[in-house]
Symmetry: C2
Subunit: 731 residues, 2 copies
Amino acid sequence: MMWITWIGSTAALIFALILALYILKKDAGNEKTKEISKHIQEGAIAYLKQQYLVVGIFFSFLFILFLVLSFGLHLISPFVPFAFITGGFFSGLAGYIGMFIATRANARTTWAAKTSLNSGLRVAFASGTVMGMVVVGLGLLDLSIWWLVLNLLEVPTVEIPPIMITFGMGASSMALFARLGGGIFTKAADVGADLVGKVEAGIPEDDPRNPATIADNVGDNVGDVAGMGADLYESYVGSIVATMALGAVASLQLPGLSALQAIQIPVSIATIGVICSIIGTFFVRAKEDATQKVLLRALRTGVYLSTVLIAVLSFLLIYFTIGRSFLGVWGAMIVGLVAGNIIGYFTEYYTSDHYRPTRELARESLTGSGTIIIAGLSLGMASTFVPVLTVVASILLAFSLSGGFADPGIGLYGIGIAAVGMLSTLGITLATDAYGPVADNAGGIAEMAGLDPEVRERTDALDTLGNTTAATGKGFAIGSAALTALALLAEYGNKIKESIIHLLSDPSVSAFFEKFYSGLVEIVRSADGSIQTINMKIDILDPRILVGLFLGGVLPFVFSAMSMKAVGRAAGDMVKEVRRQFAEKKGILAGTELPDYAACVSISTRGAQREMLMPSLLAIIAPILVGVFFGPFTVIALLAGSLTSGFVLAVMMANSGGAWDNAKKHIEKGAHGGKGSEAHKAAVTGDTVGDPFKDTSGPSINILLKLMAMVSIVFVPVFIALNNLIIQLFK
Amino acid sequence: MMWITWIGSTAALIFALILALYILKKDAGNEKTKEISKHIQEGAIAYLKQQYLVVGIFFSFLFILFLVLSFGLHLISPFVPFAFITGGFFSGLAGYIGMFIATRANARTTWAAKTSLNSGLRVAFASGTVMGMVVVGLGLLDLSIWWLVLNLLEVPTVEIPPIMITFGMGASSMALFARLGGGIFTKAADVGADLVGKVEAGIPEDDPRNPATIADNVGDNVGDVAGMGADLYESYVGSIVATMALGAVASLQLPGLSALQAIQIPVSIATIGVICSIIGTFFVRAKEDATQKVLLRALRTGVYLSTVLIAVLSFLLIYFTIGRSFLGVWGAMIVGLVAGNIIGYFTEYYTSDHYRPTRELARESLTGSGTIIIAGLSLGMASTFVPVLTVVASILLAFSLSGGFADPGIGLYGIGIAAVGMLSTLGITLATDAYGPVADNAGGIAEMAGLDPEVRERTDALDTLGNTTAATGKGFAIGSAALTALALLAEYGNKIKESIIHLLSDPSVSAFFEKFYSGLVEIVRSADGSIQTINMKIDILDPRILVGLFLGGVLPFVFSAMSMKAVGRAAGDMVKEVRRQFAEKKGILAGTELPDYAACVSISTRGAQREMLMPSLLAIIAPILVGVFFGPFTVIALLAGSLTSGFVLAVMMANSGGAWDNAKKHIEKGAHGGKGSEAHKAAVTGDTVGDPFKDTSGPSINILLKLMAMVSIVFVPVFIALNNLIIQLFK
């Protein structure tokens, strides 16, 4: 029955191919637009090459480590090294393809916008859809291949999902690098271009005389397209594999639900979601002379239609496969879908200038940059309440609807299903999100190529539209991250038991282990003294658990500190480079000499590569260190603590950043004195602070939370073994 | 043996009286300094009158509620209403007396600074010492009185500490109002004075023509003196009563430690601490021509001497009272003392311009306000790591040293003792902290009275000195807040059991309760079916517990959002008022007409009163609501979640704020272009953002965490009863 995933992945990839060909057939415009687009393409490829080189070294290192751990020390499954590599590969590939098309769609969008708003949208949205389809298509493809291989090798069904979590870890590592690297690149270029070009030299935004302007446009692609692609690939795959794993464990206790069925449900929902998303995209259309408002309605129609379709079809799926007694699982999926929409709506409410919060924020600019910063931070903090409440309600509802209070296993599975449900329409929600950067680029190209201002106005309208729909997309990404991280946490709880039972089969270890962790673990023995099972009691009031909560709580803050500082340092390099070019080549500002765009791209690239390593390593090393020194139980608290503080921090950073961005745009549309006013300057400061918030640190935290959980799951046999060595020292 | 607390409190209060008389005998200067000081006194009193009126209504309301709950419904002890009132009264009184002296010491410090730096320090430090002594003296007095009364009424020893926690709740409520109200007042005045006076009208700081300048100086007193006094009174008393309560419970399981002994240890340590602090203050002296450096050394000598003294004396105390087998408890106390110093050192490291972080932050001002804000936020986030690590180490050490892994009860008591140890030298650490605002005020008076610039230089030197020592003081306050909150959390765990056993004595309730909370609570019955005890299993992986963690994690963010927004709104009112005065009375700027200082004070007062209510109510209502709807177990997770995210957020806000402040001062001393440069403007923006961080939201979070725990302890019988009503609906 797992052939269904092949259908889903093939359908998505073929649809992506058709749209890609459609885009490439479009006219890329005149010499100038083509040339600029080419610069951006070259810059983006140069960046990705360098990125994949660094990441390649990192992956090789871990690959070898995994080889040693599996074939040498027999601590982990022999499939782990390979699963890890494929996850990273496909995540990177999804980002690469998305970016390849986006950097070709940009000039074509500019040129199409000469005709009408609707024409521009069609090209940009097609590019976004390619990204959406590639992400879900490759995600399902990787799952299908591994399922096939592991079945051919006759691996028992229940053991397959934990192996697949390893490729989730590969995907997450790649995603973290892509988000951090891309985020650092784009913000360094942005700040460099603004500070020296706009402020010091006084030339307008996207002016071709600015050496950093190409890097700035490259940044949109490597950060917002390739970074986001890898990120959502990771979310998508992560939620599915975590749920599969929980399902396999839950099925052991449940009559009427086989492991195979429990594993199939999430992938089947995902596959149906692909089909619904494809159908949805056909409804994103409008008349040639459509206004922005009509286009927004068209985009929403597509998304809502897919949502309704998946709700109905998945009902039928569950009813006819696992039967009426498991309809609660369908309920959990609906909970996820609804929760995604609620979080999305409130993200928009807090960050769009159609609503009060951002309008009030814009007004704060009248009293200067200090007040707009305070108000923006306060807005972001206040905006965390509804998402947390929604996640809390989803957890309880998904857990209880699926029957968790009778059997906790199925309840945790239900929470996973809610995450899968939330991301089931990713094909189309990502499309509405990923077309924004294309429109942004198209605007830059229109400016640099000196096209009719009307074109720029249209691309700006597309960009604004993108901001609105992107808010909804972000809601789904954030909500699903919390639920997926939770599902992974539960799966870690399952894994721990296995590894400890294995460890305790040595009776000399057993007695001491039990004593050292008395109160946290209770070992249930059969009459013959062999271990039947262990019961964990991860009691919050135990200091060994409290310690984990505290350490977990601080991690996202330290991580954000590192990533924000990284942006600052990389931006500093860029500022120096742009100043150097202006000083050494006097002809640049006069317009008689071309600036060295490539130098800026390579400065930003080097900065990003150098700076992305440390925070990523933190995510991988922290849970291992805590596991080795404090034991496997403290790691549960570490994950729970980082989830609670990290989720809130991520939402705050994303929403503060989004609101500052839109407050600035609100002023640029003419409010409070418009462009060039003192209020505008204050709003620009807000936006500068918001950039690393919303494009670097905020979204990276979501990946961090999941990656830490996956690292814990994969490495648990390793750090339990090392922790045991330390315990022995106390003997 | 409890007479020892009478000695401690009497000694502290008499010493405070002597110093107060010493200050009042000093010369308050010429007509001008006297007049300005009088304006400040009147403003401060006007503020406090209004504050106590609002708070009085709030306390009356809760008093009546408690009367109903105790005498009407018999849900809580009949002493609760009265204990609550006295806690609030003494906390307020400590703030009032501290402020009364501070507003009289300011002009006297100015005048003394005409002679020498050392003379200025003597007056200002005496004022700080009065504050320190009043706080510890009144704290011990309240304890002594209640101990006497409850003993006269023959309340059993083990039941006394829980009643005393109620007066901790009164003190915390008052402290939260004082911190929030004072913080909002002072920042509103500050921003108003700066934005309209300095930026719009272009007059210097502390210029008498600025209508908000008196309000600004009043603010230092109501925020940094009265607010801090109430705050630390709460910390001091909170740590002692929480530890007493844990000791009483622990003693029930421990042979060799009576309840009375366990209760006496923390108050005895506190009393010895008072004596050591008094001795320490005598070593804060220097020659008349001493430099700033020498004075800093003198201040440190005093603090370190007290620390060493208390370490030695408390060893003797424990050795000769409870004996050698409990020396681990002394170890826990030392852990607290050392941890306080470590956190203090790192607070200074991150926020003083003698070290790299703040110097680098100052350099960020060269690229504008955007980069200094990003760097400051990043600095604050990074600075959270060491304090969390220190607290984590303290928890484990204090718990294990005192024997927690053999008997958890004594381990939790050890954690409480660590908090008491950390605050034992509060008499002198608070003195080094509380003299800063006096020096700040003295500088303002020197400026307004047009004294010799040399005087201002000296008061500035005193102010800088104060900033350095205040950093250490903050470390103690923050660290002890985390440990005290933890101790309170543990005590809540104890209280819960009692209330549930009481509830379950009704068998019809029992069956259903057990079913509804299956997995979280296990009821152990005797052979005859009566309840012996209950075991709680607050398992992190249970969704009902996870929900609490999430809700707890978000609370400090929402609270901070509210308090920062409050500052913004109150500041807006002030800006309007100052603009109005400048517009209506043309003579003000010319210097021919006096501005209406009182109007500004009353604007700020009204703003503060209006805005402080909502965040305070949040702290009280949140745990009750969660308890009623999600049950008493989720509240444990709520408290743990808010502690983990709140502690980190509080440290971050305090340190970001402190670093911005000192980066600005660093530039004002001449770095990066000095006063008036573009870099300075950027640094001022940083400082504006940092003000509500470090003086309003950050310190309030510390109180919030403890207040929520105390509310939970006091209200637990109430919300268990209501929760049970809700459960019955599911029947």
